[in-house]
Amino acid sequence: MGRRIINRHPARGSALVLGVLPFLALAVLYVTFSSLRLAENPDDKLLPALSSIGDAIHRMAFEPDQRSGRYLLWADTAASLTRLAWGLGIATLMALVTGIAVGLVPYVRAWLAPLIGVISLVPPMAILPILFIVFGLDDLSKVVLIVIGIAPFLIRDMSMRVMEMPNELLIKAQALGASTWQIVVRIILPQMLPRLIDSVRLSLGPAWLFLIAAEGIAATEGLGYRIFLVRRYLAMDVILPYVAWITLIAFLMDWGLRRLSRRIFPWISRGMA
């Protein structure tokens, strides 16, 4: 009898082939069905040919818009990334400050933990209309939505990680003469930053979700706005590359954060092997 399947590992080459296979299958499937539909009806918009997708990309990225004179893909990307960066940045900073305070200081925990617990259960999309009313239809309401959407998760995750730290490390620091502030800057912060980066990586998906939803409902530019706008004309040749572009950006952000974490925190991976 052969070995159990949980003990069999693919070689490097075959692992690569296995990983690429589903992508290839999807591509083949798309091209097949697209040409089938186009053979039946050359005006079909649902599965545009790769050539018309290429045309659309060229139009959006490299030709100025007739009305505004702007290169739409880049203008949309800049608008969306600015909002995303503000939202992620503010939420991360809040998580760092509040999460550590809640995790480390019993009085702050007693004061803030119940509130954060309740806020984290409010469905962010349900209060989007309130945000539009209070903060207007501009960038601010979208940034606030992202913050409200991911900050409670980040704060709670951070405070739990702080509380999970072996108590010995905190006791020992006090026995070495550290003040609370010194414990924060020399022990907690350096040990928590890599974990914060990990949870920000996990929050990238929700952050994009809230951004695109808010842009879809009310905006004048942005990747989500564009997708929802051209949906009216069934412009799949624009929607598909936009979705692919968003996915690529999200992937690069995730990859970049992982690289950053490995680079500035060498102690995590060293000596483990």
Partner: protein
């Protein structure tokens, strides 16, 4: 000059963990704390460290109550999690100096750092880790990690060194090396040592006094009704190291009494 434990009790609700602890430990004494699991040895250590407060009684270090939170006068080495994984050997040993001299940043820069490296280096050399200064703890063996923990604890010269089964996870050869190291450092620094151990042989080999904890009374219907206490307080007077410690303590006691008469 001593640590005085005066009728100390520790209770959690109606459960008594420790009762009737009475002893005077001269400065410089090496106490081994032995006893079965769950008999309150670690609770005793936690009270000395300031993590727990006695429910009754007093603990006086040189006549003053022990502070009720950990501080640099009492060093601690745990069995695990005793060094900081994000700092190299050098930075782990520098850390206590940085806590002491850099109140806001908790970190040295420039010339101050270079000066402190000298102090840290000699401390690291005294535990034999000078070849591993730039390594992270995860790159060190268990014995080396405990050496580092001891160096880190001693760099601020605590009056009392508390060791909670520090060598429990080490192999016999490494353990024996650690014994020699610990005795050497104790003789150089002259601090009071409390060391919890499950290894009686280790206790009698290292200590000048063995404190054996256990319960003297048991109620089978209510296991928490009686606490453990020191059932044997054994000064090892046949050890030559103990004599100067006791003599110094007696002399200081007499001097203090004489001072009170005048």
């Amino acid at each position: 000059m001593s640590l005085l434990i005066d009728n100390v009790w520790k209770e959690y609700g109606d459960q008594i963990v420790l009762e009737r602890l009475n002893m005077e430990i001269p400065t410089g004494e090496f106490c081994a704390v032995v006893g079965p699991s769950g008999c309150g040895k670690t609770t005793f250590l936690r009270m000395l460290l300031g993590m727990e407060k006695p429910t009754r009684g007093a603990m006086l270090l040189d006549g003053k109550p022990l502070p009720d939170e950990p501080g640099p006068d009492r060093g601690i080495v745990f069995q695990r999690y005793s060094v900081y994984p994000h700092l190299t050997v050098l930075d782990n040993v520098m850390l206590p100096l940085e806590f002491e001299r850099s109140r806001f940043f908790g970190r040295f820069f420039g010339a101050e750092r270079r000066r402190a490296i000298g102090d840290a280096r000699s401390c690291i050399a005294s535990v034999g880790l000078e070849h591993a200064m730039d390594k992270y703890p995860s790159e060190l063996s268990g014995g080396m990690q405990q050496r580092l923990a001891i160096a880190q604890t001693l760099v601020r010269r605590p009056k009392i060194l508390l060791l909670d089964e520090p060598f429990g996870a080490l192999d016999p050869g490494t353990k024996s090396q650690m014994h020699d190291l610990l005795l050497k450092l104790w003789q150089e620094e002259g601090m009071t040592v409390f060391m919890i151990t499950h290894d009686l042989h280790e206790g009698f080999k290292l200590a000048t006094r063995v404190l054996s904890f256990d319960k003297t009374r048991r109620d089978p219907q209510a296991p928490g009704a009686y606490g453990a206490t020191v059932i044997y307080d054994l000064p090892l007077d046949d050890k030559a190291e103990r004599k100067p410690i006791v003599e110094k303590w007696k002399r200081r006691t007499l001097e203090t009494q004489a001072g009170m008469v005048h």
